[in-house]
Symmetry: C3
Subunit: 457 residues, 3 copies
Amino acid sequence: MDSTFFSQFIMITDIKTVIFIIALIGLLFLTSKIKSKLNFTKLMIVSTLLGIGLGIIIQYVAKFPQDPSKIAWITEVSKWYGLIGYGFMDLLKMLVVPLVFVSIIRVIMNMNEGENLSKLTSRSIIMLLGTTAIAAIIGIIVGNLLNLGVGSQVVKATEQIREISPIVDTLRGLLPSNPVKAMAEANIVAIVIFAVFIGLAIKRLNKKYSSIIKPLTDLVEAFYKVIVSVAITIIKFMPYAVIALMANTIAENGIQSIFGVVDFIIALYISVAIMFIIHLAIIWINGLNPKTYLKSASKALILGFTSRSSVGTLPVTIETLTDNVGVDSGTASFVGSLGSNMGMNGCAGIYPALMAVTIANMAGIEMNFSFYAMLVIVVTISSLGIAGIPGTATMAVSVVISGMGMGAYFPLVGGIIAIDPILDMGRTMLNVNGTMTTAITVANSLDKIDKSNIKSV
Amino acid sequence: MDSTFFSQFIMITDIKTVIFIIALIGLLFLTSKIKSKLNFTKLMIVSTLLGIGLGIIIQYVAKFPQDPSKIAWITEVSKWYGLIGYGFMDLLKMLVVPLVFVSIIRVIMNMNEGENLSKLTSRSIIMLLGTTAIAAIIGIIVGNLLNLGVGSQVVKATEQIREISPIVDTLRGLLPSNPVKAMAEANIVAIVIFAVFIGLAIKRLNKKYSSIIKPLTDLVEAFYKVIVSVAITIIKFMPYAVIALMANTIAENGIQSIFGVVDFIIALYISVAIMFIIHLAIIWINGLNPKTYLKSASKALILGFTSRSSVGTLPVTIETLTDNVGVDSGTASFVGSLGSNMGMNGCAGIYPALMAVTIANMAGIEMNFSFYAMLVIVVTISSLGIAGIPGTATMAVSVVISGMGMGAYFPLVGGIIAIDPILDMGRTMLNVNGTMTTAITVANSLDKIDKSNIKSV
Amino acid sequence: MDSTFFSQFIMITDIKTVIFIIALIGLLFLTSKIKSKLNFTKLMIVSTLLGIGLGIIIQYVAKFPQDPSKIAWITEVSKWYGLIGYGFMDLLKMLVVPLVFVSIIRVIMNMNEGENLSKLTSRSIIMLLGTTAIAAIIGIIVGNLLNLGVGSQVVKATEQIREISPIVDTLRGLLPSNPVKAMAEANIVAIVIFAVFIGLAIKRLNKKYSSIIKPLTDLVEAFYKVIVSVAITIIKFMPYAVIALMANTIAENGIQSIFGVVDFIIALYISVAIMFIIHLAIIWINGLNPKTYLKSASKALILGFTSRSSVGTLPVTIETLTDNVGVDSGTASFVGSLGSNMGMNGCAGIYPALMAVTIANMAGIEMNFSFYAMLVIVVTISSLGIAGIPGTATMAVSVVISGMGMGAYFPLVGGIIAIDPILDMGRTMLNVNGTMTTAITVANSLDKIDKSNIKSV
C-alpha cells in the first residue's frame, strides 16, 4: 500500500509542512498571550509583522524559489494557513449579505423627515467616483515619471482581443430582478437597491399604518442588533487570522519573480501612498485629526491589506466607522456597501491607469492629453460596476484596456499579473481607505458624524 | 489610439444613437408634463402610441432594414431604451418572489372556517386549463380557415428531433424540494406550494397557540403591506417605461421580415381577438360590465402587451384585480401567481395550436378529428408547467410539436420565430387577460368579489 | 400522425403501465382503509411489505430482466411511482433548510446559563465519528471473514485515477461564506454554523437588550412551531409514499444482477445488522429499553430504508426523537442536523470499509494491521464532510479508495455499484439509527432526555 496517498489526502507529505503548521500554532498561542498587554491596533501590527516574518522564513527554507506553487510542501502549508486565514474571512463574508440588507433598510426607515436619501446617494457616488478619478490621474503621473514599460517594446499581437462589456449592460446588471437570487449571489448593489425600496416603503407607511408595520420595524432593529453582535464576536479573532493571511501571501509568492517587475510594484505603492495622503488631507479638511483617524481606522486598513478582499472587510469597515470614527451607523452601512463595489480607488483607479500607461509604452502607442483625458473617463466609468472580490482588479484592467482599444496588447503584462497578490494588498487597503474617506466626507456634509467620538483603539 | 473602442464601451458610436436617446428623454419629459392632465389608462395608451411612433421613426431612419440587429446604432439605441424599459421590468420582477410568498401565506392564514382551499385551487386550475383548451380550439379553427402553411410544402427533415419532456417530470419539477432555492430561481409554483403549507399550519395553530404564532402572522401582514406599497410606487413609473419598451420592440424587429409571415401574424391576432371577446363574455356572465372592466384592467393589459412578460406583469395584475376590479386580495394573489405560470391562453394555448396546424400543412400531414382532439389535449396538458418568462411560448410550441410527433418538421417555422416579439405582445396580453378572467370567475363563484368596487382608472 | 409521441409525452406507452398505476392506486386506497385499524408503526411495516410485493410482481411480469431500465414500461411505471414516492420526499426535504436553521437558533438561544454548547458539539461529533470508526472495523472484519473479492483477482488498471479531495478543502467547504447561498444549496453544516452564531448572539444580547431582541426570539419560536406543524402534517402521508418508494426500488433493480454480487450484499447486511445491535446496546447502556426504542423509532428507520435519503428523513428523525423517544427538541435538532451530514455509520462507515477490503483482495494487495488501522482512520476522517443525499456513499467510497492509494482499481467494482439502491436501503437506515443513537447518548450525558416519555407508536 502506498502511504503517500493518505498523506496527500490530509495534505501533509513533508516534515516541513508539519513544522510550519506547528510554527503557526505557536504564533497564534503567543498572540493570545500578549493580547491583553497591547491595544487592538498594536496587536494587529504585531500580527502582521509576525505573519510577514513567518512567510519570509518559509521562503528562506524553500531557498526563494521562482515559483513557490510548484513546491509541494509550500502548497500544503498554504492550504493549512488558508484554512485559518480565509476561513476567518469566510465567517466575515457570511455577515455581508444580512448586514447590508438589514442595515440599509434600517438607515432608510429611520431617516428623519428633513433628511434626503438622494443627497446621501448622490454625494456618496460623486465622492467615490471623484476619488477614483483622482487616483487614476495619480497613476498616470507616477507611471509616466517612472517610465513604466519603456524599453520593453514589443510587436502587436496578431489577434485582437476586445470583449467590451458595455456600460449599459453593467448598469442593468446592478438591478435586483430577484432579491433572493441577488442575496444568494452576494450582489451587493442589487441588495442595496432592494433594501432602499423596502426602507422607503416602511418610512412612508409609518405615518399612517405604524401599528401594522411595527412588527417589521422591530424585527429589523432586533436582527440588526444581532448581526452587529455576531460581527463584533468574529472581529475579535482578527489578529490570529492576520498572521495566517500574511504568512500565506508571502509564502505563496515568488520573491524572485518580483524583481522582474519591481518598477511596477514601486510605482503602484508610490501611487497608493500619494493617494493615501490625499485621503488623509480630505479627512483633515472634514475636521478630523488624520493621526487619530489612522489609529482608529487601522483595524480595517490592516484587514484590507492582509485579506485582499474589500467585501470581506466590509463588516469591519462599517464597525470601525461606527464605533471608532463616530460616523452615524446608517451612513457607514450605506457608503460602506457602495464603496466595496464601486469607485474602488486602488483596484479600479490607480491599478488600471498604471497598467494602461505600461501597455501603451510597451506597444509604442503615443500618449497625448486626449489619451490621458479619455483614460481618466474610462477608468472612472468602469469603476462603477466592478464587484469587490479578490481578482476584480484584473477585470477592471481588462475593461479599461479594451475600452482604450489596446486589447491586443493585454497579454504583454503577464509578468505583472503573476505577482498580483503583492499588488493587491496595497490596492485593497486603499479601497478600504477610500470608502472610509467617502463615508466621513458624506457624513460630515450631512452632519451625521460625532467628531468628539473618534477614538484610537 | 482608436477612439471607437471607447464609443463601443459606452455604446454610442453614431450620432443617431445620441439623437434617439435625446428623443426618448424628450418623450419622457413630455409624459411627465401631461401626466396630471390624463387619467392613468389614457396616459398608458398615449405612452404606447408614443413608443410605437418612436419605433417607426427609428425604422424609417434606418430605411426599414431586413434585419435591424445588424445595424449598429439600432442595437445601441435598443440597449439604451432597454435600460429604461427592461430596467423597470426588473424592478417589478424584484417584487414577484416576496409578493407571491407573503401574499399566499396571507390568503391561506386569513381564510375563514367555512372557506375551502381545495375549491379555490381546483376552480383556478380548471378555469386556467379550460380557457387554454378553448384558446387551442380557436387557434385550430382560425389556422385552418386561413390555410396557414398550405402551399409551402416541404420534405421531411432527415433527422428526428424529439426531446419529449414527460409530463411526470414537469409535475415533479413543480415541487419545492428547497424553498430558498425555489425563491432564488423564482420557481413560482414551488413558492406557492411552500407558502400554502406554511399558511395552512398557521391557520391550524391559530386556534390553540395564537399567542405563540402571533409574531409571525403580524410579520406577514406588515411585510405584505410593505411589498404592496413598494409595488404601487414602482407602478407609477409605468407610463415612462412603456414608451421605451414599445419603441424598443418596434425598432428591433424587421418590419420587412414581417411580410413573409404576415398570414401567421394575422391569424394569431385574429385568434387573440376572438379569445379576448370570449374572456369579456365570461366576465359579463360573472356580472361585470365588460366596458368598465376594460377601463379598469387596461393598465395590466398594456404592460403585458409592451413588456411581453407575464411574470413581470404579475405585481400589476394583482394590484389591478385588487384595487380596480374589486377582487379579494387573497384570490387575486393566488390566481395571479398560478396564472402567470400555467394555462397561459396566448403563449401556451393559441400559439402552439396555430403552429401545429401550420407545420402539419407544410409537412403534408393529414389532419382529422382525432388529430385535432389530441392537439387540444396535448396543448392543455403542456400548458400546465411552462414558466411565464419571455420566450416560454417557443418552449410550449416545441413540447406540443414533439408531443404530436412532428418534431422533425420544427425547423420549418424559423421565419415565424424570427419575428416572435411581434407575436409575443398579443400573446402575453391575452395571458394576462386570461388570468384576470379566471380570477374574476373564481372570486365570483366563491363570493370574493365586491362588484360595486370596480372602477375605471 | 404518430400517436406514440403523445404516449411518450404522458409516459404511458404500454397497457402494463396503466395496470400497475391502477395497482398502486388500489394499494393506496387499501392503506387509507386500514389506517385507523393499525398503529403507525404497524401501518409502516404493512406499507413496506405491500411495496416489496408490488415490486416483485412487476419484476415477475417483466420476467426478472437483467437490466430493468431497458424495459420501457418499467421505466414509465417507475416514473409514476417516483412522482408519489419522491414527490413526498421532496415535500419533506422542503422542510430541511428552514427546520435546521430555525431549530438550531432556538436550541442555542434557549440554552440555560450552566449549559455548554461546546460540550454538545464535541460530544455529538465524537459519538458520530466514533460509531463510524466502529462501523468501519465491523466492515473490515465481516469483509475478511466472507473473503470479499478473493478469486476475482485482476490486473491493475493502466491509468491512475486519483482525485484526492484534501481534507482541508472539505473543512473550508463547510464554512458558510454566504448564508443565503448555503440555504439555496442546502449546505446543512454551513447553515448550522450560521445559526449557531445567530443563536449565540441572541443569547448574549438577551441579558442586556432583551426588549430589543424580543421580536426576533418570538419570531423564531413562532416559525419553529409552524415548521414543526407542517412536518407533522406531511409525515402523516408517509405510509402511502413508502409503498411507492419500495415498489419503485424493487422494480427498478435487476434481481438477476444481484446474484453476481450476492456475497457483497450479504456482507453489507450482516455488517449493518451487527452495527445495529451495537447501537441498541448503546441505547440500552443509556437506560432505555431497546425494544421500546425500536417501536418508537421505527417510523424514521423505515423511511430511511425506503427513501434512501438521510437528509430527506431528517424532519422525521427529529420529530421521532422529540415526540416519541423523549429527547429534548434542541438536542434532537442539533444532532440530527449534524448526523445527516457527517459520521454516517452506513454510507460512510461500513460501505467504504467493505469496498476497500473487496478491492484490495481483487487487486492482490496485501492487508496487514497498518493497512487496517489506516483504513479506519481514512474512513473516519472522510465521514466528516460527506453530504447526506442519495449517492453520497459512492463519493465516500471514492474518497476512501483514493486515500488508500487504490484509485487505479476503482473501476473493478462496477457490478456492485450497479445494484447500489439495494445496498443503499440498509446503509441509510443504519445512518438514521446512528444519528438517533448519538442523539440519545449525548442527550443522556447532558441530562436532556425524559426517559419516561418514550412511547411506542
